[in-house]
């Protein structure tokens, strides 16, 4: 222990000076959001116990479509972002973030992020009301066919739309026009797509002329979805190939690019809240365990070596929550600071969730290294999430431009 002192603080807010009323972005949880959390948690505690989640990862149906239908029907999880007039719940990214936290806590195998956040954001931006209503009701599950490990995502040109065209994908056959019925033909492949295995409709950004966002039914002839043996089997990826598949144009050119960029920005921002949920659950599990587990005739949680690690983890979760709430609030309000907020949140929560998963394994000792304990489910989901929609490193790199901190070799302004 360091020789301690207590001295006066550098800049205390003093009586008579006052720190003033708090203001700025709302980083708390509203009553409605807390109620929504309660409903989702109750359902997931009933239907997505970790043993069920683990067992499902070893079946052919890694996504729990029944649970997803219930989430959509009972709490409206599929249509949170969609206005009521368009068949949704008329909520916002703030509520979606709360659901994501709960999905993360349970490592639930549902396509909430892919369908209700990413694809839905794309459809909202593209303005496809008919499909939007079907997705919002939960009747149709949609997926945007970009790699979960999308490269170069967190760059400013990308996030503003123009760079979205760099997201690789699928070739558009047959030149600039569709056939008489307005149907285009797509050929190509995309590797490692999240939430597409269970999707009914695929939203496909396609290159060549014209760049656009296309929709196809997932069971269309010529589409192959090969399940990937994934690091995180609670969100199993698939490799997608299309061979001359007829597709409908949802949005063209700039509008499509902006829709894809908006979708991925929202995906990264809300994924940060999922990561927060994972981290929080890991901390809870581990704190509970070290209170019970006895070695040397005392609970291991009484050893300072363990207490300090968990105190640090708790501090990290406090930071992660502030970052995740800020991103959710910016997304919800269309704040001009949204790109910064998402980069901060995804960079922070990626690191914190992985750290939490690692501490959970380590502080559980041997049992944490076994298959028969949930620690590995969280560790794997946390690690996969840290790569999904931009790594922490990629998001920090985006701040070089967003926060005007140029790299070496670049001329300062």
């Amino acid at each position: 222990m360091t020789q301690a002192t207590q001295t006066h603080p550098p800049a205390p807010p003093l009586p008579g000076q006052s720190a003033g009323r708090s203001s700025g972005p709302d980083l708390l949880y509203s009553e409605d959001e807390t109620d929504l959390r309660g409903a989702v948690r109750a359902l997931l505690e009933d239907r997505a116990q970790w043993r069920d989640v683990l067992a499902r990862t070893e079946t052919a149906q890694t996504y729990d479509t029944g649970l997803w239908r219930t989430l959509a029907a009972e709490v409206g999880a599929a249509g949170l972002l969609v206005p009521e007039a368009q068949g949704g719940a008329g909520a916002s990214y703030r509520e979606a973030a709360v659901v994501a936290e709960e999905v993360g806590r349970a490592a639930a195998p549902v396509p909430f992020l892919g369908s209700a956040v990413v694809a839905t954001t794309a459809l909202l931006a593209a303005g496809d009301d008919e499909l939007l209503a079907e997705v919002a009701s939960g009747a149709v599950t949609a997926a945007l066919t970009v790699p979960f490990a999308v490269v170069g995502f967190a760059t400013v040109p990308f996030a503003t739309g123009s760079g979205a065209r760099q997201v690789p994908t699928v070739r558009l056959d047959g030149g600039g026009a569709g056939d008489a019925a307005g149907i285009y033909r797509l050929t190509g492949s995309v590797a490692g797509v999240a939430d597409a295995l269970t999707a009914d409709v695929l939203l496909i950004p396609a290159d060549s002329v014209p760049y656009g966002l296309y929709a196809v039914r997932a069971d269309e002839a010529g589409i192959t979805r090969s399940p990937v043996v994934s690091l995180d089997m609670t969100r199993q990826l698939c490799d997608l190939t299309l061979d001359n598949v007829p597709a409908r144009l949802v949005a063209g050119s700039e509008r499509a690019a902006q829709a894809v960029a908006a979708a991925l920005t929202a995906g990264a921002g809300i994924l940060a809240s999922e990561q927060l949920g994972i981290a929080e659950r890991c901390l809870e599990l581990t704190v509970a365990y070290v209170k019970e587990r006895r070695q040397f005739a005392r609970p291991i949680g009484s050893f300072q070596a363990i207490k300090h690690r968990l105190a640090d983890l708790w501090v990290a979760v406090v930071q992660a929550r502030a970052a995740a709430r800020y991103a959710a609030n910016c997304l919800a309000t269309g704040d001009p600071d949204t790109l910064v907020a998402v980069a901060l949140a995804k960079a922070t929560c990626s690191d914190v969730a992985v750290k939490a998963g690692q501490e959970t394994v380590q502080l559980h000792g041997g049992i944490g290294f076994t298959w028969e304990h949930p620690a590995h489910l969280y560790l794997k989901r946390a690690k996969a999430d840290s790569i999904g929609f931009g790594t922490a490193d990629a998001h920090r790199a985006s701040l070089a431009e967003l926060a005007d901190l140029p790299p070496a070799g670049a001329d300062g302004k």
């Binding site: 205390p12 708090s22 700025g24 708390l28 009484s302 922070t348 300062g412």
Partner: protein
Amino acid sequence: MLGDAVLGTAAEVTAGDLRAQVQEFLAAHDPAQADRLEFLRARFDAGLAWVHYPAGLGGQGLSRSLQPAVDEEFDAAGAPGNRPERNGIGLGMAAPTILAFGSAEQKERWLRPLWTGEEIWCQLFSEPGAGSDLAGLATRAVRDGDDWVVNGQKVWTSSAHIASRALLVTRTDPAVPKHKGMTYFAVDMHAPGVEVRPLRQITGEAEFNEVFLTDVRIPDADRIGDVGEGWQVSNATLMNERVSIGGGAAPREGGMIGQAARTWREHPELRTPGLHDRILRLWTEAEVARLAGIRLRQQLAAGQPGPEGSAAKLVFARLNQDITEFEVELAGADGLRYDDWSLRRPETTNFYGRESGYRFLRSKGNSIEGGTSEILRNIIAERVLGLPTEVRVDKDVPWKDLPR
């Protein structure tokens, strides 16, 4: 600090009412003409010093959130202030302790000159042998008639050289376990037997002092709380210290990171890929810590106080150290220069008036002062996470029998 819950809030008074009160006061006391101290005393007596304090003690028993309206009104009129930066311990720690534990007579006697700045306060807590383990302290106070006679040494006392009064915690009963044998006083820093010596620190200056107490007589009337209640009173003081640290709402780049970011932008020639990675990490962490501070204040304002405050000081200490270490490295050859090693006696701590080397060194104290980061982690682990306490070997042993 004492909150609204403790003091109660009169329902009807609004910020507008208070502004009107200030205007009325200003009409009767022209700030341009009045003697500074007389003006401040009158402001205190009018209940416009700290409105969340009780009536008769400089306040009106109102919500603390109404204070800014009062301060703004006085500032706008160019009224003399009480220079709170010179009396941080008095205002931030002594006042709430006196309010909570002092007698009516003590409140009457001490709070007004404290608020006006006539009496600067310091805090005689730490000792060479009692840092993190404050309750192990050895400064003795022995009853002698109506007085107590105090002998011992205190350390890390900021402002002792300008203070006229000090919060003092002593050992009065060595025969009982350490937490039970302590008693708390206010001591006159000009009393015979009080000797203040500068304690030079790694920055070269001396913000702090050693204070030697030799046969210092303290009237029993200056005892705060009961005999043997010193630990409880000390805890109230320290609670206010922890609340104080962690800062107010700053804008983005308003803290230490702003300095580093400006240097980064202005000096492309200093940039390297490795430093770039570091500044992006630091910027991210600093901004997220700022957001966490905003969130904490929102929780408090919404009446949902949480334990997150104890995270703030840990993060702030580590970040200050990491950022300033980065700054020195970024400075390159200039990082090898230091502005001034001479023994100065600053009255306040100012991170920004000096070079990066000063900030690098001064920030080392941030993880020690006001509770070490290690002790804070213990507090989080035990009080927030509910983990079992360390096995204690000193709890039920009389203080005099503890190994030392």
